[in-house]
Symmetry: C2
């Protein structure tokens, strides 16, 4: 089943202990799309400026990602500059330029309308909501956000949360959103805001899914009440963690969309595929690793991750 | 098979967001013994002062722990005061008084000599080494340490590491010991110092075992080359994390000692039992939870932890 994703398509300048890259292709929707494209059809809604040319377009084309919803407009694309020199787990933002995203009015191409899965990648919650409202009949809606929207745009974000089935955020974001440092208590508070399922990403430690009393979608066969944790593989070398969370989301949601039935077992495997894709994203700068990845490498690492915590 | 453990038996004054306790029974060997006692026979080597009386002795007796190796001497027992007010994952030490441990000369009771497992709990590496040297024929030796010994007593600690099969430390300690912030690279550096197996404890995220090329003991049927990760259950309420790492070690080593053969499968289950015992320790102040625990509760939580990451 096809996924429509709305989010940033951007240029990033990144510095890590492994080196520096200027203006490489980035953005939450880019990482998400590349990652999800290994599992299912992906359609992107975004806006780019005149600096987004054939070379960038070719990255999406090579993965058969539908870019008809990427609007080209005058001006510069979204730009982010950050570094991970002191702490590989947390980016230090040096500069964010919204550029063409400042006046973006998302429109859904007719060809996207039969998408059964919708992902609202990290972006202004006002834009997330506009896309959500234009696609009321999707089967499953998931989304991401970040500290900035949680702290400074809370009312708009709370509106988005009401329309989500699955929210994917990291530990810090969950704690800030709930105003509670205990992860289990924070999860319960977040689940009361709308989503049936909360996936908390722990970086190198994997991710944990929490569920509200009800099952996360009417199609799930039996409710899951205990949390579920997917581990991550300890990596020999983390070159650049940018986009790891978006790649997790792409693997998770892409795998889920590729499954006929949304069973708890499929959900658990989706969590593992999320971890797998997040780990690949870190191995090179920007989207380099995702661009040259194969499905065989993905499935081999899935087996490795399963082995990593398997008891019998 | 019986375990002999050497380490601190102490009094702790602890403050956490949940409250404060004055001079409750603590010490690495205490937590380790109580935890391991649910799986196998445990024998303690330590020294206590005149403040250690019948009430403290009764805690060990209730779990059938052999205390004949606890020397009683004039003076006060080891004392530690710390708090977790800002960060539940890291204690802030306010006061440490070695007291009777300052002049401790560990002696192994005759009745302990047939112990096949030896655990060197966190304590001065000079004392760890003296005990190790007096028990050259044990089947498996594991140990713990902390930042203070790593930073300020490195030569003595390196001698201890040469005689260890398994080292159990936390993320920060592994990184400091290796002088490398990447966990996989740090693990490899630590394994080169002596132990065949390194268990890195991640607090609320569980623990990861790394293995050197050889299997961790000659009795293991087949070598394990990939790391193994045991998750921890996200806890609803962490009352007091003191002793969680020692309780992990007790569950891990106690379960291992209870198994006839040291197979990779037994090792993996031991990692899960470690996580289980660490999680229980946090639920009340000091050793309160370990004192009233039952084996049924332990096995129930083991099943829950297995379910937490189980795929099929």
């Amino acid at each position: 089943m096809a996924i429509t994703v709305v989010g940033s398509v951007a240029f990033d300048s990144i510095e890590t202990p492994a080196g520096r890259r200027e203006r490489c292709l980035g953005g939450a929707a880019t990482y998400f799309s590349l990652s999800a494209s290994f599992f299912t059809d992906v359609r992107v809604i975004a806006v780019v400026g005149e600096d987004f040319g054939r070379r960038q377009e070719a990255v999406f084309q090579a993965r058969n990602i539908d870019t008809r919803g990427i609007e080209h407009t005058a001006g510069k694309s979204f730009f982010w500059e950050g570094s991970y020199l002191e702490n590989l787990n947390e980016a230090k933002t040096h500069n964010t330029e919204l550029n063409v995203f400042a006046a973006f009015e998302p429109k859904i191409p007719e060809a996207y309308r039969d998408s059964e899965f919708l992902f609202l990648a990290n972006i202004d919650p006002v834009l997330q909501r506009r896309v959500r409202e234009q696609m009321p009949d999707v089967k499953l809606v998931a989304g991401d956000t970040m500290n900035y929207w949680i702290n400074d745009h809370r009312p708009a974000l709370l509106e988005v949360l009401k329309g989500l089935d699955v929210l994917l955020i990291n530990d810090t974001e969950a704690r800030i959103l709930a105003g509670n440092n205990n992860l289990v208590q924070a999860a319960r508070a977040v689940l009361a805001l709308g989503p049936h399922t909360l996936v908390v990403k722990h970086g190198e430690y994997g991710a944990t899914a929490f569920f509200s009393g009800e099952s996360f979608t009417p199609k799930v066969k039996s409710a899951q009440h205990h949390p579920f944790r997917a581990p991550a593989l300890p990596l020999e070398e983390v070159v650049d963690p940018t986009g790891a969370g978006d790649s997790f989301a792409g693997g998770f949601f892409g795998y889920l969309a590729s499954q006929g039935e949304l069973t708890p077992a499929a959900f658990r495997r989706a969590m593992f595929y999320g971890s797998v894709m997040g780990s690949f994203a870190c191995e090179r700068f920007g989207t380099e690793r995702l661009q040259e990845l194969t499905r065989k490498e993905i499935d081999d690492r899935f087996i490795l991750f399963r082995e990593l915590t398997h008891l019998d």
